[in-house]
């Protein structure tokens, strides 16, 4: 029934830290440290976690914008890692990205029309009149109109820009769209417009999303399954209902309880975590969460827990051994 679109296997991305006279690599930032998951066709996989935990890096390595250090990314069975550049460029049509910053992701020197036509030009898809029509069509799809095509990105509000970004991503009829915090820079009232748009599009053209965000309520709203990341690893991956109703990992529990609820009558019990997220350049031994974990055991300090299935949810925690 569920067909895998992308399979990520043991994906790692380390950034070297250089030092010394010759700029030797002395250690690594383990931004992504061994991920295994599958994105199924037509679903939305949400990815949450605190800042710096490796969400964006995951998205970028999957799209081969960053060369993974290790691991495989299978797109419809084909490994994208190490694929020859020409072939990869062709495949890119199917894999697109919507960026977090609607201000930085559009070249300020191009008009909106040119921006949207750019992917068509790169892949030589359509010319002349046909191209103009396609641009107009894309603009309409994202709720803008063709007269916007002559204007520059800086003349648009954040929400509109994000729509332009989405139109660009859609131009090539992609299969997978990686959305890297597409709404976190937007105001609440605009955010819902964009989320609705993304959802509508998914329905209309069978898109698959990898949806990265740090706002749990947004992720919950849009995703089918959710992965929770902590320091470069997935600590819990589950169906959204399951995750919210019965979070297994202590970190997930704390995360869920930390969200302020817009209801003054509802006072809930908080788990307040101690300290900050440790640096991925120097992660704690064993379970990387153990220094902040209230249920930390001795084994947690030494041994990395693997991601295991517990009651239909995947958890990486020694509590469930």
């Amino acid at each position: 029934m569920k067909q895998p679109l992308v399979e990520v296997k043991n994906l790692k991305k380390y950034f070297p830290i250089k030092k010394g006279i010759l700029g030797r690599t002395v250690s690594h930032v383990k931004a992504v440290d061994g991920l295994d998951f599958t994105i199924f066709k037509g679903e939305t996989l949400g990815l949450v976690g605190e800042s710096g935990c490796g969400k964006s890096t995951t998205g970028r390595t999957i799209l081969q914008l960053l060369q993974p250090t290790e691991g495989e990314v299978l797109y419809e069975g084909k490994n994208l890692v190490g694929m020859n550049p020409i072939e990869l460029r062709k495949l890119r049509k199917n894999l697109q990205m919507v960026f977090q910053d609607p201000y930085a992701s559009l070249d300020p020197r191009l008009t909106v029309g040119e921006l949207i036509a750019e992917p068509l030009n790169i892949h030589g898809l359509s010319q002349g009149k046909e191209k103009d029509l396609r641009v107009e069509e894309l603009l309409n799809v994202v709720g803008l109109s063709s007269y916007h095509a002559k204007r520059y990105a800086h003349e648009f509000s954040g929400g509109q820009r994000q729509r332009i970004g989405i139109a660009r991503a859609l131009a090539l009829n992609p299969k997978l769209v990686v959305c890297d915090e597409p709404v976190s820079a937007l105001d609440v009232s605009i955010q819902s417009q964009v989320i609705n748009l993304l959802q509508d599009l998914q329905e209309q053209i069978q898109l698959t999303y990898l949806f990265i965000a740090h706002d749990l309520s947004v992720v919950r709203h849009i995703s089918d399954r959710i992965g929770v990341m902590y320091l470069g690893r997935i600590v819990e991956l589950a169906d959204k209902q399951a995750l919210f109703q019965s979070p297994k990992h202590p970190y997930t529990k704390a995360l869920l309880s930390a969200i302020p609820i817009p209801n003054p009558l509802l006072k809930k019990e908080r788990i307040i975590l101690k300290g900050d997220v440790p640096s991925p350049a120097n992660p704690p031994t064993g379970c990387t969460f153990h220094p902040r974990c209230s249920e930390c055991m001795t084994i947690c300090r030494t041994e990395k827990p693997a991601l295991k299935e517990v009651d239909g949810q995947f958890v990486a925690c020694h509590l469930y051994n």
Partner: protein
Amino acid sequence: MNKLLEIKGLKTYFYSDDGVVPAVDGVDIVIHEGETVGIVGESGCGKSVTSLTAMRLTPGKVVEGSIKFNGKNILALSDHEIRAIRGNEMAMIFQEPMTSLNPVFTIGQQIGEAVQIHMNYSKQKAKERAVEMLKLVGIPRAEQIVDEYPHQLSGGMRQRVMIAMAMACNPKLLIADEPTTALDVTIQAQILDLMKELKEKHKTAIMMITHDLGVVAEMCDRVIVMYSGKVVEESDVISLFTNPKHPYTQGLMKSVPSLDGEEKRLYSIQGSVPIPGSLREGCSFAPRCEFAMSICKQAMPRLEEVETGHLCRCWLHSTDQGGIQDEATAR
């Protein structure tokens, strides 16, 4: 309860080559002693400018209105007198803990500076006070941290330092301009917790600026909703959440995806926030409002008390139709 801060009819405009930007366009705010007032609204609606104006720190020009703090007319004070209030009776924490601390001075120097200025502490005593404050905001190793520089701390710790700095002189009013927006949820929870604790301990009034309704619900006693330079709704927190009056407030609440309910589609307010200065007749929310009537496009409604303690600026709830004339002649 005593009125601590009373802002009346405040208008702060920016004058530039491109024209006038009425960033704050007639705002009334009252904050009582020990009370936490939330100010919500979309980006650019004038929240920060309002708060900065309260401390007379805005680069804009106050064209109208009055600000009274603790009985003093803020706008009429001499530079010397206003400096005596800043950081002493009225303190501020900002959104960006990363950039709000001076990178070239130690934490201790920066926290100590305020007490040196306002309480005539010696350097040594100021440092002791700094350590004390750091401990108060729950920073471990306070004795060491006091000699460290901002870049050596994480975002959450820096925001704690900011709070320590603001609280160093036991201010009566703490203005917090989106104090947790730049932080992660787990850290945000820590900071909010801390603020609540401090508030209880020191009876400090807080002006809490945020766009996160969750934070408002959790922290505030009273809420002021701003839209495009104006207050559109004001009420106590419970009544606002249970019974929002203004269509904008209603829309805002509905567009946040909830964590328990199960909605297929989010409610969304169409259109986008107006650019301040793009002068328009009528209610500034009218172009986005699904209940907009013809009058809405002609005149700006007044902020009226529609229920006890619940004020709203909307023709739907207006009892005083004469307001049309009033506003029209005022223009």
